[in-house]
Symmetry: C2
Subunit: 144 residues, 2 copies
DNA sequence: ATCATACTTGACTATCTTGATCATGTTTGT
DNA sequence: ACAAACATGATCAAGATAGTCAAGTATGAT
């Protein structure tokens, strides 16, 4: 599970959309790409690409024309960082061929388990939770 | 934590060396690169590079000249897959700049926690354990 | 109608990392 | 001396990543 800038931007955009759809409870106000890029310092045309992917995945809707923009199309409580990462097409860390030796195989199981561990973490991070913590101004949630 | 072919090969080589140093208890028989590449299907000159790195990290010793080769220089019970991955210079998944917004920061914490989770898994996998299980012919250790 | 706003689409480029190779040396046992 | 085996540095191709550009289409406002 590699966290690329693409995935990071995608999550930021989704969180931003979730925030907006929450504040203004009327569904009639899509958010323009420009607003997101301004607030989060994301290269404009790059975010366009990313939103296209998110739309294909069904997580956002687009509204064309003047006053158009993007809008979340799912419940923020039903989507996790893992969902977004996978939608963006985050490459799996281990695309190995069939193991040739027993050592090879055992190592492969370790890589898989490591990848599973990080996926578990991301699969538990719901957008709604993150927003909630953000509103309460919680600094850090993981205590070392 | 990205598991590249480089890391995989490094671990295979370390495991192979650990096996050999265990069988023949006299320290007088280094293992030639050729023997490792033959057994594990690793491109020869590539393993040379990798062993160079492992030597710089202090995990293996080299013996030059005829009858030379490589030898483990640490106790297989004291080294984990994480140690090897880090020695190889496995890039950390998140080399992000200082977070500009609060959302940015919260996301970053999640990426860090995900990376930490997989590091924890690899940090518990000692070479000696893997070899032990390999000898007992254990198929898979993680039960879904 | 027309104009500005804003999304759509597809192609394109630069840079970096990864995986891998080669040539040329140096060391050492026999 | 000779061959086995490591040492070192340069180099290369392919793919991914990050980011850009240009031309087009839809829609609300005037």
């Amino acid at each position: 599970m590699v966290i690329s800038a693409r995935v990071h931007y995608a999550c930021l955009a989704m969180l931003e959309l979730a925030m907006r759809s929450d504040e203004a409870s009327d569904d009639s106000s899509p958010v323009a790409i420009r607003e997101i890029t301004d607030r989060h310092n994301i290269p404009g045309p790059f975010l366009v690409q990313i939103l296209r992917t998110l739309r294909a995945a069904g997580w956002v809707q687009s509204v064309r024309g003047s006053q158009g923009g993007y809008r979340l199309s799912v419940d923020p409580a039903k989507i996790t960082l893992l969902d977004i990462a996978e939608a963006i097409g985050c490459q799996e860390s281990s695309a190995r061929a069939t193991p040739s030796t027993q050592l090879d195989e055992m190592l492969g199981e370790h890589w898989d388990e490591a990848a599973a561990a990080s996926r578990r973490v991301l699969g538990e991070a719901r957008l709604s939770d993150i927003l909630e913590r953000c509103r309460h101004g919680d600094a850090s949630m993981f205590y070392i």
